[in-house]
C-alpha cells in the first residue's frame, strides 16, 4: 500500500542515484522506495530509504505562538535519538508555543567509560539537551539494549500516567514501523508510545481508572510525529519539516550529548589532536565550545541539509505524521439535514 501511494508524489526522485551510484533498476520498473541523498561527509543520520506518501506536506515556520497552551512529549529510548533525528522540529514546535518535555526511556548504560559512568553522564546529557531545546527532562532508566526483556505493558502504564499528568497533545517518537531497526529499545519505545497515546485518552475511565481516581485527567493526543532512524531505516514519510531556523539549536542539543552520539566533544577532541601535531583547522575556532559547535554543524548536519535541498529548504527533517482523526459525525448530520424528508 505504501508503495502504491508513493508513486504519484515521488516521480521527481525516481532517477536519483543512491550514494553516488547509478541505479541498475530496469527501465520498466517503478521503484517503491527511494534512496535518501547523503552528504559528502556520510554522517548517516538520515535513513537509507524513504517511501513517500502522495499527500506529503512541507511544514514551515508559523508566525506567533499558534501552539500556545499545547504540550509536546518528545520520547526517546536514548539520549541521542531525538537530538540527532528530530531536534530541529522539537525546537520549532516549542518556539511556536508548545510546552515541551524530553522523556528518555532507557538508562543509556552502554555508553560511557563504565556502566555507572554511562548512566550518570547520559542522565546529565538528557537534561542538558532538553535545556538546549527549551524542554523539561524526564528519564525512566530501563536497561539499555535490553528493553525487549521489559514488559511493554508496564512501560505503557507509566507513559499513560505521564501523558495524563502532563496533558500531552502531541508526541514525537521513533517510528515503531521503522524497518530494519537493529535496536530493540527503539522498537519497544515506539510501540509503547503508540499504544499509550490512545489509551491515555479513552473515555469512561476504563484504562487505569486508579489514575483518574488520583485526580489525573484523560489526555487527548491528536498528533504524532514518527521520526526515522538511520542508517538502516526504511520509512514512509508524509511530512517534511523546515528546520532551517532551528539548526543551531539542534546543533547545541547534540553538543550537549557528551556520552553518546557522534557530536558531544568531538570538535574539541579533534582540535586537541591537531594541536598535538602542530596544526589547526580554522573552522574549529579558538576554543572548545566553538570547535564542538562547528564540528557538529559542518560534519553531522549535512545529511539534513541534503534532505532539505530536495524541497528547496536549507535544512529539513522527515516524518510519518499522524494527525487528528476526522470526525465523521458532522458529515452524517449534514447529510441527514439535507436529505431527510417528511414522513
Amino acid at each position: 500500500m505504501a508503495g502504491g501511494l508513493a508513486l504519484g508524489g515521488a516521480a521527481a526522485f525516481q532517477s536519483r542515484p543512491a550514494r553516488g551510484q547509478q541505479s541498475n533498476l530496469p527501465p520498466n520498473v517503478v521503484p517503491s522506495a527511494y534512496a535518501v541523498p547523503k552528504s559528502k561527509f556520510h554522517a548517516s543520520l538520515t535513513p537509507d530509504y524513504h517511501t513517500y506518501a502522495s499527500d506529503l506536506v512541507i511544514e514551515r515556520n508559523q508566525p506567533g505562538k499558534p501552539h500556545q497552551g499545547k504540550v509536546l512529549a518528545a520520547i526517546q529510548a536514548h539520549s541521542d535519538d531525538i537530538t540527532l533525528f528530530c531536534a530541529g522540529t522539537v525546537a520549532k514546535l516549542v518556539d511556536e508555543g508548545y510546552t515541551g518535555y524530553l522523556i528518555r526511556v532507557s538508562n543509556d548504560e552502554k555508553s560511557g567509560t563504565s556502566v555507572g559512568h554511562g548512566v550518570v553522564q547520559n542522565e546529565i546529557d538528557n537534561r542538558e539537551a532538553a535545556k538546549a531545546l527549551g524542554c523539561k527532562a524526564f528519564s525512566f532508566y530501563y536497561r539499555n539494549h535490553r528493553m525487549d526483556d521489559c514488559a511493554v505493558i508496564e512501560i505503557r502504564q507509566r507513559l499513560i500516567f505521564l501523558f495524563r499528568l502532563l496533558q500531552v497533545n502531541t508526541v514525537i517518537v521513533m517510528d515503531p514501523y521503522d524497518h530494519y531497526d537493529e535496536n530493540p529499545d527503539h522498537i519497544m519505545v515506539g510501540k509503547a508510545v503508540e499504544t499509550a497515546c490512545w489509551m491515555a485518552g479513552t473515555g469512561g475511565g476504563r484504562e487505569y481508572p486508579e489514575q483518574l481516581k488520583a485526580g489525573l485527567k484523560p489526555a487527548q493526543i491528536n498528533e504524532k510525529y514518527y521520526h526515522c532512524r538511520s542508517p538502516q531505516g526504511h520509512n514512509l514519510i508524509n511530512r517534511v519539516v523546515d528546520i532551517s531556523s532551528y539548526i543551531d539549536q539542534k546543533v547545541r542539543a547534540n553538543v550537549a550529548n557528551k556520552a553518546k552520539g557522534p557530536a558531544g566533544d568531538s570538535g574539541a577532541r579533534l582540535r586537541r589532536e591537531l594541536a598535538k601535531r602542530g596544526r589547526k583547522l580554522p573552522l574549529l575556532g579558538d576554543d572548545d565550545d566553538t570547535a564542538n559547535f562547528q564540528y557538529t554543524k559542518t560534519f553531522l548536519m549535512e545529511d539534513f541539509h541534503a534532505l532539505g535541498q530536495q524541497y528547496g529548504l536549507e535544512y529539513a527533517e522527515a516524518f510519518r505524521y499522524i494527525g487528528r482523526e476526522r470526525d465523521h459525525q458532522p458529515a452524517v448530520r449534514q447529510y441527514v439535514e439535507e436529505h431527510s424528508a417528511p414522513l
Binding site: F138, C150, A151, I153, E154, Q157, R158, F161, L162, L165, Y208, P209, E210, Q211, K213, A214, G215, L216
Partner: protein, 308 residues
C-alpha cells in the same frame, strides 16, 4: 510489640507455623479509635477472597478508626454460571455492593483475566498497586501470603507477591518516580496481614471477629457469583419446588442467605475461635515493619556526641 487488646497465648491443639520463640497473638477488640488516621488496603484477587478470609478483620480495623479500601485484581470471569461477559459484570457489581456492605471507603477493580494472572506482567500490577498505596497513604495491607504453601490459584500468589513487593517499593523515591511529579510522595506500607487462604498456611495472629460477625455475613451474602452468598435462597427455592421448607432459612431470600452463611459458611472461623476461647476468629500471618521511634544508632549518637 504488645498493645492493649492483644494477648499472647500458647497455641492449644493447633500447630501454627511460627518462628522459634514466636507465639500466636490473639487480637481482641480495642476500645476507642486507636487507629484513627490510619489507612488499610485489602487486596484480593476474587470477589469472595476477603469476604471469606478477612472481612472480619477489615470490619474490626474500620471500627477501631482505620479507613479501609478494597482492591480486586482479577475480573472473576470464570464464576457466575453465565457467559464469560455476564460473569464479569455480575462479579463487578457484587464487588461494589460487598465493599459498601463492609464499609470500605472505595472499591478498585483491575480486571486482570481470571486464572490467567501468572501470565500477566506483574510489574504492571505492582506499578498500579504502588500508585494506590501512595495515593491513599496506605499503612497496612491485608492480602494473600505469597509464600503460603498449597496455593493452587495463580491469581492468589501473583497478587500476594505483587502486594508484598509494592509495600516497600512504594516507599522508594526512585521507583515509579513519575508519581512524585504528580505530587504523590513515597509511602511505605509497614504492616501486613497475610490471609490463611489454604489449609496449613502459617499464622501468628488470631483475630477475634465475634463483634463483627454480622458484617462478615453482610459481605458473604453479597458474593453470589462466587462464594455461595446466595446459596440459602437457592436451597429455599429448590425445597419449595419439592413442596418443602427449612425453618432455618426463614421466609425470604435475604433471611435465607444470611442464615445459610451463618450456619454453614463460618465453620472455619467458628473452629478457630473455639480453639482460642472465642466465638469466631480469623487467622493471619502478621508482619510489622514499623520503625521504632528512635533507632539505636540515633540514640547512641545523641548520647555520645561531644563538642569538637
Amino acid at each position: 510489640m504488645k498493645r492493649r487488646g492483644i494477648f499472647k497465648i500458647a497455641s492449644a491443639g493447633v500447630r501454627p507455623a511460627l518462628a522459634e520463640g514466636e507465639q500466636v497473638v490473639v487480637m481482641k477488640a480495642e476500645p476507642g479509635q486507636p487507629h484513627r488516621g490510619k489507612v488499610f488496603a485489602a487486596v484480593h484477587a476474587h470477589l469472595d477472597d476477603i469476604p471469606c478470609h478477612g472481612s472480619g478483620l477489615s470490619a474490626k480495623l474500620m471500627s477501631e478508626g482505620y479507613t479501609g479500601y478494597i482492591v480486586r485484581t482479577s475480573n472473576d470471569e470464570k464464576y457466575g454460571g453465565r457467559s464469560t461477559a455476564e460473569n464479569i459484570l455480575s462479579n463487578e457489581q457484587e464487588h461494589i455492593r460487598m465493599g459498601a456492605a463492609v464499609g470500605f471507603k472505595d472499591v478498585f477493580d483491575f480486571y486482570y483475566q481470571n486464572h490467567e494472572m501468572s501470565g500477566i506482567s506483574y510489574l504492571d500490577l505492582r506499578g498500579r498497586l504502588i500508585l494506590i498505596f501512595r495515593l491513599l497513604k496506605v499503612d497496612t495491607v491485608i492480602s494473600f501470603n505469597p509464600w503460603g504453601h498449597g496455593e493452587e490459584d495463580p491469581d492468589h500468589w501473583v497478587t500476594g507477591r505483587a502486594v508484598e513487593e509494592a509495600c516497600w517499593m512504594a516507599g522508594m523515591p526512585n521507583d515509579f518516580h513519575e508519581h512524585l511529579l504528580a505530587g504523590f510522595q513515597p509511602h511505605t506500607v509497614t504492616e501486613r496481614y497475610y490471609l490463611c487462604a489454604r489449609p496449613g498456611q502459617p499464622y501468628n495472629r488470631v483475630v477475634d471477629i465475634g463483634p463483627h460477625i454480622e458484617k462478615k455475613i453482610d459481605a458473604i451474602v453479597e458474593c453470589k457469583s462466587r462464594g455461595n452468598g446466595n446459596r440459602g435462597s437457592i436451597v429455599r427455592a429448590e425445597l419449595a419446588r419439592q413442596g418443602k421448607k427449612l425453618p432455618l432459612l426463614g421466609n425470604d431470600d435475604r433471611t435465607a442467605d444470611r442464615a445459610y452463611a451463618r450456619q454453614f459458611l463460618l465453620d472455619g472461623d467458628r473452629e478457630c475461635g473455639r480453639q482460642h476461647g472465642l466465638e469466631f476468629a480469623e487467622k493471619f500471618y502478621y508482619i510489622d515493619q514499623r520503625r521504632p521511634a528512635a533507632l539505636k544508632a540515633d540514640e547512641y549518637i545523641r548520647n555520645n556526641a561531644v563538642s569538637l
